[in-house]
């Protein structure tokens, strides 16, 4: 029996698209697959669908567990399920693995039909716009004209924001958590270190490592360590690890000594097992390129003019990656357009990763906001 509040055992589905997709880079994919999961049931009016967009390290496995892998709990399982803040008794929730991903959707590790070999380096660089375009096609395929809400944290929040801009008729509410309207130089710098770690790994082979039977594991591990440090706050690290040693005495060598080193190495090992380096490179690029205001000469208010959704924004005080000030940039643009928006700044210690935690102030807010979403006909 799954625990109370869980959507229980779920299974991923695959949607195949033969209609070519033109990407922002100018490249195009003639056909592609999107892996997705759904929880709850679409109502007769098709008005209760919620799209959950994933961030850097995640996938379409948002909630529940797999029958053959009961330990693999969806990444936002604490938020989504029967009776949970996003209540699957009421909403039909969709998680989708983005284009370029490595969890079932077409990506660099997929077979390129033109060559019969993995795409590798030839897989195009994808953007948030491209993801939204692909997600919109999946929505159409599933018979969803308009989402009750599109939501995400971090890079997922950027997709929720982009949806409101480029598909204004198709999203009633946009839930934008721990977001930024574009990356700062510091954000890009961290991404570049991660990319350098991967591309300079001798096992990278210019991105075509698949045919060599290796993966750039060292690079991927370092990339993950860098990323992980930016997701946590100094305080959380101090509280969780401090300067605690694994053994009582200093060893005066370069083995694992501090607990934080052990933790980072463990995280890095886990990640390198399950994530594709080419996907990681592309997702960090999608982050770097995200800048919807650029279409209007840097004017975010002008960019948001077409938006019609109601917005909920949440930031976390200890998030130094996408600080509350970054959310306030978005709020200003929303208020300039007199769009409906509520914003909460949660005083949580966990840093950027707070959006994945179950802080009651945060979850109560999401629950209350979703509770107010009226589900009538598709036009409401």
């Amino acid at each position: 029996m799954p625990p109370e509040g869980s959507v229980g055992v779920v299974s991923p589905k695959l949607a195949h698209f033969d209609e070519p997709i033109e990407l922002k880079s100018g490249a195009r994919l003639d056909s592609y697959d999107l892996a997705y999961e759904t929880y709850g049931a679409l109502n007769a009016a098709r008005s209760n669908a919620v799209l959950v967009c994933h961030a850097l390290n995640a996938s379409h496995h948002v909630a529940g567990v797999y029958a053959d892998d009961p330990e693999n709990v969806g990444w936002w399982d604490n938020l989504i399920g029967p009776g949970k803040p996003v209540d699957t008794n009421r909403f039909f929730v969709i998680g989708v693995n983005n284009l370029g991903g490595c969890h079932g959707s077409t990506g660099p590790s997929s077979i390129n039909p033109a060559t019969g070999r993995p795409w590798g380096a030839d897989f195009p660089v994808v953007t948030v716009d491209d993801w939204v375009q692909a997600q919109a096609r999946l929505a159409t395929r599933l018979g969803i004209e308009r989402f009750a809400a599109v939501m995400g944290g971090s890079l997922g929040a950027m997709q929720a924001l982009q949806w409101a801009i480029s598909q204004p008729e198709r999203v009633r509410h946009s839930i934008v958590i721990a977001a930024a309207p574009k990356l700062s130089a510091q954000n890009i710098a961290f991404n570049e270190v991660a990319r350098q770690a991967i591309t300079t790994d001798p096992d990278f082979h210019g991105g075509n490592y698949y045919s060599y039977g290796v993966v750039p594991r060292r690079g991927l591990r370092i990339a993950r360590m860098i990323g992980h440090i930016t997701y946590l706050s100094d305080d959380t690290m101090a509280e969780k690890f401090g300067r605690e040693l694994r053994e009582d005495t200093l060893k005066f060598n370069f083995d694992v000594e501090f607990q934080i080193e052990s933790y980072l190495r463990h995280q890095a090992d886990k990640f390198a097992e399950r994530f594709d380096a080419n996907t990681y490179l592309r997702i960090t690029k999608a982050l770097d390129y995200f800048d919807p205001a650029a279409a209007c000469g840097g004017d975010l208010s002008a960019t948001l003019k077409p938006a019609k959704a109601g917005f909920l924004l949440v930031s976390f005080t200890s998030d130094w990656r996408f600080s509350p000030a970054r959310s306030r940039e978005i709020i200003k643009a929303l208020v300039d357009n007199r769009l409906g928006v509520s914003y909460a700044e949660i005083d949580a210690p966990h840093g950027h990763d707070a959006f994945l935690m179950d802080d009651p102030r945060y979850h109560n807010l999401i629950q209350t906001y979703f509770g107010n979403i009226v589900l009538q006909g598709p036009g409401t």
Partner: protein, 206 residues
């Protein structure tokens, strides 16, 4: 101290009706220290306003969301820099002014962002308050329901104080309503009035 810790009374809200009467239909309103959002909700229903509330307290932010009111969690003391000049018809500060640290700055900012400002505040000059002072105690009343040691109010003032402030700071008073309980007060307002509501603009500077 947070500027919007629901100082004074938010219950009963005899000032709501007055504010609603003054506000033009479909106006754009910013409510500073909006509490649980009930004023904005009232104005939305009665006047069809488009509004945003600013509130610092977690529980009240949640209450606003429950009330279906736009709320932005922020500390008033950090100013209104996130809002364009002259971008709202009215900026309201309801029973919060006496709890704000930077009084002058917030009043100035109200008239930068809004074409008009509306404040309501408990009148420290109310006769019941004066009697308690005469008796040697800090006043505690329906309008000032705090003991001296637990009050969020740091700038208590009278109706006359506010009028002098407006005269010396180039603020033009457009309308005034003084109340005791639910009843308007017209005679000796600074003595008989418990609650004051002012509507004002920047006068000739506007």
């Amino acid at each position: 101290m947070s500027a919007s810790a629901a100082p004074g009374t938010r219950s009963g809200r005899s000032d709501f009706a007055a504010i609603a009467k003054w506000i033009k239909p479909n106006a754009q309103v910013l409510d500073l220290g909006c509490g649980d959002g009930s004023l904005l909700r009232h104005l939305k229903q009665a006047r069809g306003v488009t509004g945003y509330g600013i509130e610092i307290d977690d529980a009240r932010v949640l209450a606003c969301v429950r009330n279906g009111v736009n709320v932005l969690q922020n500390d008033l003391e950090s100013g209104l820099s996130g809002f364009e000049s002259n971008s709202f018809d009215y900026v309201i500060l309801s029973q919060t002014l006496q709890a704000v640290r930077h009084t002058e700055r917030i009043l100035k900012d109200m008239l930068r962002v809004g074409r008009e400002g509306i404040v309501t505040f408990p009148n420290f000059g109310y006769w019941r308050h004066r009697l308690q002072i005469l008796a040697g105690r800090m006043p505690v009343s329906k309008e000032l329901p705090y003991e001296w040691y637990d009050t969020p109010n740091i700038h208590l003032f009278t109706i006359r104080d506010f009028q002098v402030y407006c005269r010396t700071h180039g603020v033009r008073i457009l309308e005034r309503l003084v109340m005791a309980g639910a009843k308007p007060v017209s005679v000796l307002p600074n003595l008989l009035g418990a609650l004051a509501v002012f509507r004002f603009d920047a006068g000739s500077r506007a």
